[in-house]
C-alpha cells in the first residue's frame, strides 16, 4: 500500500501548479495510469481525498485514464497488447521487452475555475 504516498506526491505537484497559475482551487485532476505502474486505481482513489486536505486540491475530482500495456513485438514488427501478467505477443507468441506504453503515472492536466466566466443571460 504505497498509494497514500503516491497521492501525496500527486497533490503536491497539482497544488504547486495551481498556485503558480494563480488559481484559488482545483476542480479536476487528470491522471494517466499505466497497467504496469504498480498503482492500484481503487486504492489511489481512496487515498486521494485524504491527501488533498488543507490544499488547493481539496474537493477536486480525480479523472483517471487507464493506459494498457503495449509492447513492440520484434517478430511481428507491430505494437501489440499482451494478456495480463504476460509480455507475450498475442499474435505470434514471441516474448518482447520493448515497452511502448503502460508504465505511465503522470498528471496530464488540471482544471481550475475560469477567472472570467462567460456572462450568464439574465
Amino acid at each position: 500500500m504505497h498509494e497514500l504516498s503516491i497521492a501525496l506526491n500527486l497533490v503536491e505537484i497539482v497544488d504547486e501548479a495551481a498556485r503558480r497559475a494563480g488559481a484559488e482551487r482545483v476542480v479536476v485532476v487528470h491522471l494517466r495510469l499505466g497497467a504496469m505502474s504498480g498503482v492500484v486505481q481503487e486504492a489511489l482513489e481512496f487515498c486521494f481525498p485524504l491527501a488533498t486536505e488543507g490544499t488547493l486540491v481539496e474537493g477536486a475530482r480525480l479523472e483517471i485514464e487507464r493506459v494498457p500495456l503495449v509492447v513492440a513485438c520484434a517478430s511481428c514488427e507491430r505494437d501489440v497488447q499482451p494478456a495480463e501478467g504476460s509480455f507475450r505477443c498475442p499474435l505470434c507468441g514471441a516474448l518482447s521487452m520493448l515497452i511502448r506504453q503502460g508504465r505511465e503515472l503522470e498528471v496530464t492536466g488540471i482544471e481550475v475555475p475560469d477567472p472570467e466566466p462567460a456572462m450568464e443571460e439574465p
Binding site: 506526491n9 495551481a18 476542480v27 503522470e106 498528471v107 488540471i110
Partner: protein, 228 residues
C-alpha cells in the same frame, strides 16, 4: 445554477518525478565514484539478507570493497547480522513505509559518512514487498529480484510489475528445492514470461551453491561499468 466554467492547464509531470530526479543525481554520484549500486527487492522472507550476508562475506574475503544499506520497517537486526561480514553496513528504519525512496538513500549515505570512492559495490536491501518498491528508482545500476523456491512457481506472473522492473533474478534457497517439490524450469519460464531476456541465477546462501556464478557476474558487471 450556472455550470462552473473551468480552464484546463496542461502539466504532464510524472507523479514520481521528484524521486526520479534525486535518483538520477545518485546514479551520477555512483557512476563518478565507480560504485556498482544494486537494489535488492523481493517479498519478505525470501532470503535477501541471507544472500547479502554471504555475498558481502565472499566479496570482502576476495579483497573487494562492498557496503550495504538495509531497509526494514523496524529493528536494526539485519544490519547487525550483516556487519559480521566486515563490510560497512547501515540500517534504514522506514518506520511504516513499505518501500525505500531515493531521498532516504541520499540522506543515509550522507549520515553514514562513507567515501564513495572507497567503495566498489553498494547493495541496497529494499523493504520486503513485491508491489510498492517497483516504481521507486533508487539510482541503482542493477535491480535484483529474489524469489525463493518456497514461494511457488507462479509468483512472477502474480507480480509482473516488480519482476518486469528487474535486471537480474535470483532463485534462492536452492537447498530446499527438492523438499518443496518445486519445478525450477517452470519457475524460470514464469520469470521470463514477465521479464523476457533477464539473467537468472539459482543460489543457496546456506550451501554456497550458485554463489560463484553470481559473484562472477557481479564483478564482470562492475568492470563493464556501462550505464552504471
Amino acid at each position: 445554477m450556472p455550470s462552473l466554467s473551468t480552464r484546463l492547464l496542461e502539466i504532464r509531470t510524472g507523479v514520481l518525478s521528484k524521486n526520479d530526479q534525486l535518483a538520477a543525481r545518485l546514479r551520477e554520484r555512483f557512476r563518478a565514484a565507480g560504485v556498482l549500486a544494486l537494489n535488492l527487492v523481493s517479498s519478505p522472507g525470501s532470503g535477501k539478507t541471507a544472500l547479502l550476508e554471504r555475498t558481502l562475506t565472499d566479496l570482502v574475503r576476495a579483497g573487494h570493497r562492498p557496503a550495504a544499506l538495509v531497509g526494514d520497517l523496524a529493528t536494526d537486526n539485519d544490519a547487525r547480522r550483516l556487519e559480521r561480514s566486515g563490510a560497512p553496513v547501515r540500517q534504514i528504519e522506514t518506520r511504516d513505509m513499505c518501500h525505500l525512496e531515493a531521498e532516504m538513500i541520499g540522506a543515509h549515505l550522507d549520515a553514514a559518512g562513507w567515501n564513495l570512492e572507497d567503495l566498489e559495490y553498494l547493495f541496497i536491501e529494499n523493504v520486503g514487498n513485491l508491489v510498492c518498491p517497483s516504481g521507486y528508482d533508487l539510482g541503482e545500476a542493477v535491480r535484483v529480484v529474489l524469489l525463493s523456491v518456497t514461494e511457488g512457481e507462479d509468483k512472477p506472473v502474480k507480480y509482473p510489475v516488480l519482476f518486469n522492473s528487474a535486471d537480474v533474478a535470483i532463485i534462492t534457497k536452492l537447498d530446499l528445492a527438492e523438499a518443496c517439490g518445486i519445478d525450477l524450469a517452470l519457475m524460470r519460464r514464469n520469470i521470463e514470461e514477465v521479464r523476457p531476456g533477464i539473467a537468472i541465477f539459482e543460489t543457496s546462501a546456506r550451501t554456497g551453491a550458485g554463489m560463484d556464478a553470481w559473484l562472477t557476474w557481479l564483478t564482470a558487471r562492475r568492470m563493464r561499468g556501462d550505464a552504471m
